[in-house]
């Protein structure tokens, strides 16, 4: 497709303006993460300085935020893995089979995704508390407790996205494999999953970002043992003071995996999110 020069110039101008608008706070903040404390909030802001890692050293080691990093990784990866294990087969089921109430169930699942976390936070806390008292099974302040809670939001997203990919594929694809000597599960594994792989990557990444950034539910349900990175970031906003350098150091740590993953998986992501129509 050939785009006229004028249109191309215009579209690039708009894109650059948007990028600048979005990137200014990110860049300014990220720079602050490398500033020594005395110039954190200097006015006018200092743009050229000798970068230092003292903020990172402080947050990760002195304040032991590496523990939060570990918690965030465990909870996010755990959430995504469980959501995929449960959600991908469910999505396949919704895509291929019609059963009593399948349509209503699907709509209910999508509506779950629209609930603000604040609505489920307290009930989950109450349920965890009740479960603990009734059975002694403690879920508060455990990685598994948060992973379980996040399924409320991750599972609908996984099912909804993956169902879209499965619906696009002709059913004859796995039927062919079934006639050729495979079970339905075998056909799914050997034939269908390799085709929707970019979709799985895209789904996993979007879900990872949700779990990785999640703050509110963690605030309610996590404790000393499971506190996540976004919560750690919150600790640098204290009383009337904000420790900008430390805050941005944590922020950068939070942003890094998402940025790196997105760059690494860019091709899969574009393929997955557009389902190959851009090729």
């Amino acid at each position: 497709m050939v785009v006229p020069v004028r249109e191309r110039v215009l579209s690039y101008a708009i894109l650059i303006a948007m990028a600048v608008l979005v990137l200014i706070p990110v860049v300014a903040g990220s720079l602050t993460a490398f500033k020594p404390q005395i110039i954190w909030i200097s006015s006018p802001p200092v743009w050229f300085f000798e970068p230092t890692l003292e903020n990172f050293e402080f947050v990760l080691i002195t304040r032991q935020n590496w523990l939060h990093l570990r918690n965030s990784l465990i909870i996010s990866i755990g959430s995504v893995v469980i959501a995929l294990i449960l959600g991908v087969p469910a999505a396949y089921g919704f895509a291929r089979f019609r059963f009593r109430g399948s349509k209503g169930l699907m709509q209910w699942l999508i509506s779950l995704r629209m609930i603000p976390p604040i609505v489920v936070g307290l009930p989950f806390y109450a349920m965890f508390l009740f479960l603990e008292r009734a059975t002694g099974l403690g879920l508060r302040d455990t990685h598994f407790g948060l992973i379980l809670t996040y399924q409320t939001f991750l599972l609908p997203l996984v099912i909804w996205m993956m169902r879209g990919y499965f619906v696009e594929l002709p059913a004859a694809m796995e039927e062919s494999a079934m006639v050729e000597g495979y079970t339905r599960i075998g056909a799914l594994w050997r034939v269908v999953l390799p085709v929707v792989w970019p979709g799985i990557v895209a789904t996993a990444l979007l879900n990872f970002i949700f779990a990785w950034n999640e703050f509110f539910l963690a605030l309610i349900l996590a404790g000393n043992n499971t506190s996540t990175l976004p919560m750690a970031a919150g600790t640098y906003i204290v009383r009337a003071r904000v420790e900008w350098g430390n805050l941005f150091a944590v922020n950068l740590i939070i942003m890094m995996p998402v940025i790196v993953l997105t760059i690494f998986l860019r091709q899969q992501l574009v393929k997955g999110l557009t389902f190959g129509i851009l090729e």
């Binding site: 002709p170 004859a172 694809m173 039927e175 062919s176 079934m178 050729e180 000597g181 079970t183």
Partner: protein, 372 residues
């Protein structure tokens, strides 16, 4: 292998009609049987039940005397080629063909030998290393054929495998499927809505409509002696001219069929069957090929005006208006009459069809059979 369907029923509860309505069918060993019918007639559902992709509500399916009704698709020793799917997109041509062999844990050397042998059979041995992006629609369908053949199935099932191809390729692959059938001697069951495809391919044609089998016969039988009005109308292009009419039997024994605006005489040999059917309501029909242009008036000749002429190549299809009825007439292109001109049509009694107006069953079948 011999395939037998016994009292097979499939009812998708969502639809108004029963998809497959208690059909009985026998397809003999080595036969190429074609299930022919309009969309929604149950032909694909029947095929999918044989493959095991659809479970019948009742009835049994036997392949080579073995009851396979409750077996999983993979255990039925059948192969299937689909209309809208031909290649696994994540594998190249070679791996596609090898795919069914991995299911039976064949050793690598044997797989390689088999894949190359089958690829040669369908003329894609030079494409083995290609990916799905690098093969055309026709080639992809050959890959599907190869993949179907590679396990030496007892029955080949084909669900409109040529419908998505362009006309030229369709004819070419049709010939190859026929050749494949002759070379392998396996039972083929081929589903299509294209009656020309059915005629050229089939040893036996099973015409279906609304979940019922309308007629089973050779291509000639379903074309020349349709058992009912549906088969008569569905088989043949351009389709048969059909009109409502009523019979008139004279004292002398001559039988006429009264049509809107004119009357035609039926041949004497129909006399026995129709003698007592005076004023019986019928559907009368005649194929466009059986109407002739004549220059002098005579028996069964009717004047008309040509409205439209479609060139078919060596022959023309004329639409001729006779007493407010439009008739399709096929004539040699050299004899064609221009649109707007008058002409004289002769209806050959020997090629007329009569169906009961109510049951739509043929009234002539027995007589024709006798005459033949």
């Amino acid at each position: 292998m011999k395939v037998v369907l016994k009292d097979l029923v499939k009812d998708f509860k969502s639809a108004d009609t029963v998809a497959v309505n208690r059909i009985n069918l026998q397809i003999d060993r080595g036969e190429l049987a074609v299930l022919l019918g309009p969309s929604g007639c149950g032909k694909t559902t029947t095929l999918r039940m044989i493959a095991g992709l659809e479970q019948p509500d009742s009835g049994r399916i036997y392949i080579a005397e073995r009851d396979i009704t409750d077996l999983a698709p993979k255990d039925r020793r059948v192969a299937m080629v689909f209309q809208n799917f031909s290649m696994y997109p994540t594998m190249n041509v070679y791996d596609n063909i090898a795919f069914p062999l991995h299911a039976i844990k064949m050793d690598r050397k044997e797989i390689d030998r088999t894949v190359r042998e089958v690829a040669r059979l369908v003329n894609i041995d030079q494409l083995l290393e290609r990916s799905v992006r690098q093969v055309s629609g026709g080639e992809a369908q050959r890959v599907a054929l190869a993949r179907a053949m590679v396990r030496r199935p007892e029955v080949f099932l084909m669900d409109e495998p040529l419908s998505n191809l362009d006309a030229k390729l369709r004819v070419q692959l049709r010939t190859e499927i026929k050749r494949l059938h002759q070379d392998t001697g396996t039972t083929f069951i081929f589903v299509t809505h294209d009656q020309e495809e059915a005629m050229t391919l089939g040893d036996k044609i099973i015409v279906m409509n609304r979940g019922d089998i309308q007629q089973v016969g050779t291509p000639h039988e379903v074309f020349f002696t349709p058992r009912n009005a549906f088969v008569a109308n569905f088989v043949g292009t351009p389709s048969m001219n059909m009109l409502p009419g009523s019979l008139r039997v004279e004292e002398s024994g001559r039988i006429f069929v009264g049509l809107p605006g004119f009357e035609l005489e039926l041949p004497r040999r129909f006399e026995a069957g129709l003698r007592r059917m005076s004023s019986h309501h019928v559907i009368w029909g005649i194929r466009p090929e059986a109407i002739r242009l004549v220059s002098a008036p005579g028996g069964n000749c009717v004047p008309g005006v040509v409205e439209l002429v479609e060139a078919l190549g060596s022959r023309d299809l004329m639409f001729v208006r006779v007493h407010d009825q439009l008739f399709g007439v096929i004539v040699d292109a050299l004899d064609s009459v221009a649109a707007g001109q008058a002409c004289l049509l002769h209806f050959d009694g020997a090629h007329m069809h009569l169906f009961d107006a109510e049951s739509e069953l043929s009234l002539l079948l027995d007589e024709k059979a006798k005459g033949a």
